[in-house]
Amino acid sequence: MNLTACLVLAALVFACGVFGMLRNRHIINILISIELMLNAVMINFIAFAHFRAADPTAGSVFVIFIIALTSAEMAVALAVVIALYRQRHPLDVERMKRLHG
């Protein structure tokens, strides 16, 4: 276990998120991919905190804030999903193209 391994892991997870974000058509799938990316960032923070930082606590603190933020963001995102659903709009990003040009 070393820092490099952690970072590579985080990068890979992040890349997974990128892949999912580009590939999946369901909005919630895309949101899940975003969660993965944020998760990768958290891995980074914790890894840096553990292996290198002069102020290791800060890493954990930041992670906590990220989680708080994510929940806020997800709450809003899911609210919009529900709003879309209420208007009988398919949760398919490829059909979400009323606005363009």
Binding site: L9, A15, L22, G59, A75, R86
Partner: protein, 183 residues
């Protein structure tokens, strides 16, 4: 290779595996469960890295709150009926290529900047041991000292309030209120 290493690599494999599953499973609910899996194993990684409090929050808030909320939304919207069709293979391939390219470049950038291999002013081991603990974090979060995070802590509460107001505002059923918009 000691036991920590073994645990780490196993955990990493788990994280990565569930991440791959989370983005490649077609069914949303399955994907959400895979995400939950990934987050769980990440919490495990945090433990390995002595970030106990982060792991705790991860499990309680992230998984217990956010992912459950996702699942709840999935269930709520599921009876919309139709499945979202699979992406066009070319697009999937493109996404894969894009992700790989991204990953490669990301690693290249990190590699170019591999300054971490020269250890900087590293925290003392003793400090490290309790850095991720509840006590340390709690003190920092509520401290007005130069190294405290009281201000952002207060502000994030505002943020959460704002998100709450907003989410409710949007998600609330519009039936009751007088017409708004023609649709």
């Amino acid at each position: 290779m000691n036991i920590t290493d073994v645990l780490f690599y196993a955990d990493a494999a788990l994280i990565l595996g569930s991440a791959v599953l989370a983005v490649s499973l077609r069914h949303v609910l399955h994907a959400a469960l895979a995400l939950m899996m990934a987050l769980f194993s990440t919490a495990g990684l945090f433990l390995l890295l002595h970030a106990e409090f982060a792991a705790l929050v991860q499990v309680l808030v992230y998984i217990g709150g956010v992912v459950i909320f996702i699942v709840y939304t999935i269930l709520l919207t599921a009876h919309l009926g139709e499945e979202v069709p699979r992406s066009h293979p070319a697009k999937q391939l493109g996404a894969l290529a894009g992700a790989l390219l991204f990953c490669a470049l990301l690693l290249a950038v990190l590699w170019a900047g591999r300054a971490w291999e020269v250890p900087a002013a590293h925290a003392a081991d003793a400090a490290l041991a309790q850095a991720g603990g509840v006590k340390g974090i709690g003190r920092r979060l509520l401290s007005a000292a130069p190294d405290g995070f009281l201000v952002p802590f207060e502000i994030v509460s505002l943020l959460l309030l704002a998100a709450l107001v907003g989410a409710i505002s949007i998600a609330r059923k519009p039936a009751g209120d007088p017409g708004e918009g023609p649709k």
